[in-house]
């Protein structure tokens, strides 16, 4: 796991039970905490819902990428065919039907690439947020991290233990 220069101070709790985790998260959000980080090992609607995020804007990247691909493909083919027009098989110089295939391919290609770019760009992959992490989160634990100074920490620890966290530790 990635080490980092500055570790955000806070409290990290890990849960075995999904419902416990969800309840805790909801409780924290009720308290108005926005800066919670939840770790889990697989896509889970229950948890996503608990975290209550809006729909990811990554689709914009897909859309824009796709459209760019289409325009790029057609403009490229039309321009290149006119740049040095050569006649083949008595077909028109600009033969749109023949260009559809590459139009489609580039739509998909650039669409996919920009989607991927979008994920890397939006989510924190490739960048270390410097929050505490535990290897078991990729296995069968759910982690909840809340940044907190020494003053708030004890309260949070108590809250987590009550909620049924199997382990609570403080990051500083």
């Amino acid at each position: 796991m990635a080490k980092s220069s500055k570790v955000t101070a806070g409290v990290l709790a890990s849960f075995e039970h999904i419902d416990a985790a969800c309840d805790t998260i909801r409780a924290l959000r009720a308290k108005g905490r926005k800066d919670i980080t939840v770790y889990y090992s697989h896509p889970s609607h229950e948890l996503e819902e608990a975290c209550g995020h809006a729909v990811s804007p990554v689709r914009l990247f897909t859309l824009i990428g796709g459209l760019t691909g289409t325009t790029a493909a057609f403009s490229m083919q039309i321009w290149m065919n006119r740049d040095w027009p050569l006649l083949v098989g008595g077909k028109p110089i600009v033969a749109i039907p023949a260009f559809v295939v590459i139009g489609f391919e580039l739509t998909v290609l650039i669409g996919a690439l920009s989607t991927l770019f979008g994920v890397f760009f939006l989510s924190s992959i490739l960048r270390n947020k410097g929050v505490t992490y535990d290897g078991r989160f990729s296995d069968d634990r759910i982690g909840v991290f809340v940044p907190a100074g020494p003053d708030q920490a004890p309260a949070l620890e108590r809250m987590f233990t009550d909620a049924g966290a199997v382990e609570v530790k403080r990051a500083a």
């Binding site: 040095w84 050569l86 760009f121 960048r127």
Partner: protein, 192 residues
């Protein structure tokens, strides 16, 4: 953090355009070379272009004495091939002209020797067109006049030693000219 990502994105785009632009060859540059001062064969090493067995100076023949190109390259106006002068053509003048100074005399002596020993001088080829290109010299002279030579070969009248001014095997360079003059650029005009 995010800004940097956007910058990277822009940079990539810029790079791609730059590469695209780079693909376009530039036009011919002007030849450069000292005007006909007296030079000895040993100097020829200093100049661009291959050293020739005989230090033949286009700058003297074409520049100083204003001998027209087609006097020696006799078939340029009538044939695809420009033609290289026979030893007889050289001797036509150098039977009499022996050279003003020792350096020149030395070189002209070589020419006379080759004539006497019937061993033609083996010139080193400067302009060698790819074998799958057919370049009709006659058509270009017909279209651009007898002094069109410099367009491709550079101003040899200022070259003590001939060198390649343009990459004649760069097709784009040919095409630039054909586009500018709006003449035929059908593939089979040159490739067959």
């Amino acid at each position: 953090m995010r800004k940097s990502a956007w910058i990277t994105l822009a940079a990539c785009a810029a790079a791609i355009i730059a590469i695209a632009a780079a693909g376009r060859p530039s036009g011919a540059q002007q030849p450069s070379g000292p005007v006909g001062v007296v030079l000895t064969a040993s100097d020829s090493a200093a100049f661009k272009g291959p050293r020739q067995p005989v230090y033949f100076r286009h700058d003297v023949h074409s520049g100083q004495y204003k001998i027209s190109c087609q006097y020696c390259h006799y078939s340029a106006a009538v044939s695809n091939e420009p033609g290289i002068p026979s030893m007889q053509t050289c001797m036509g003048c150098h039977l009499i002209i022996g050279g003003a100074d020792s350096a020149n005399q030395l070189q002209i002596a070589l020419v006379r020797e080759s004539w006497n020993t019937k061993k033609p001088i083996e010139w080193v080829r400067v302009h060698s067109l790819a074998r799958h290109v057919h370049f009709p010299h006659s058509q270009h002279i017909k279209a651009m006049g007898p002094n069109a030579c410099a367009t491709c070969h550079g101003d040899v009248s200022r070259m003590p030693q001939v060198y390649k001014v343009n990459n004649i095997n760069n097709m784009g360079w040919c095409i630039n000219c054909h586009l500018a003059r709006n003449v035929n650029r059908d593939c089979t005009a040159c490739h067959y």
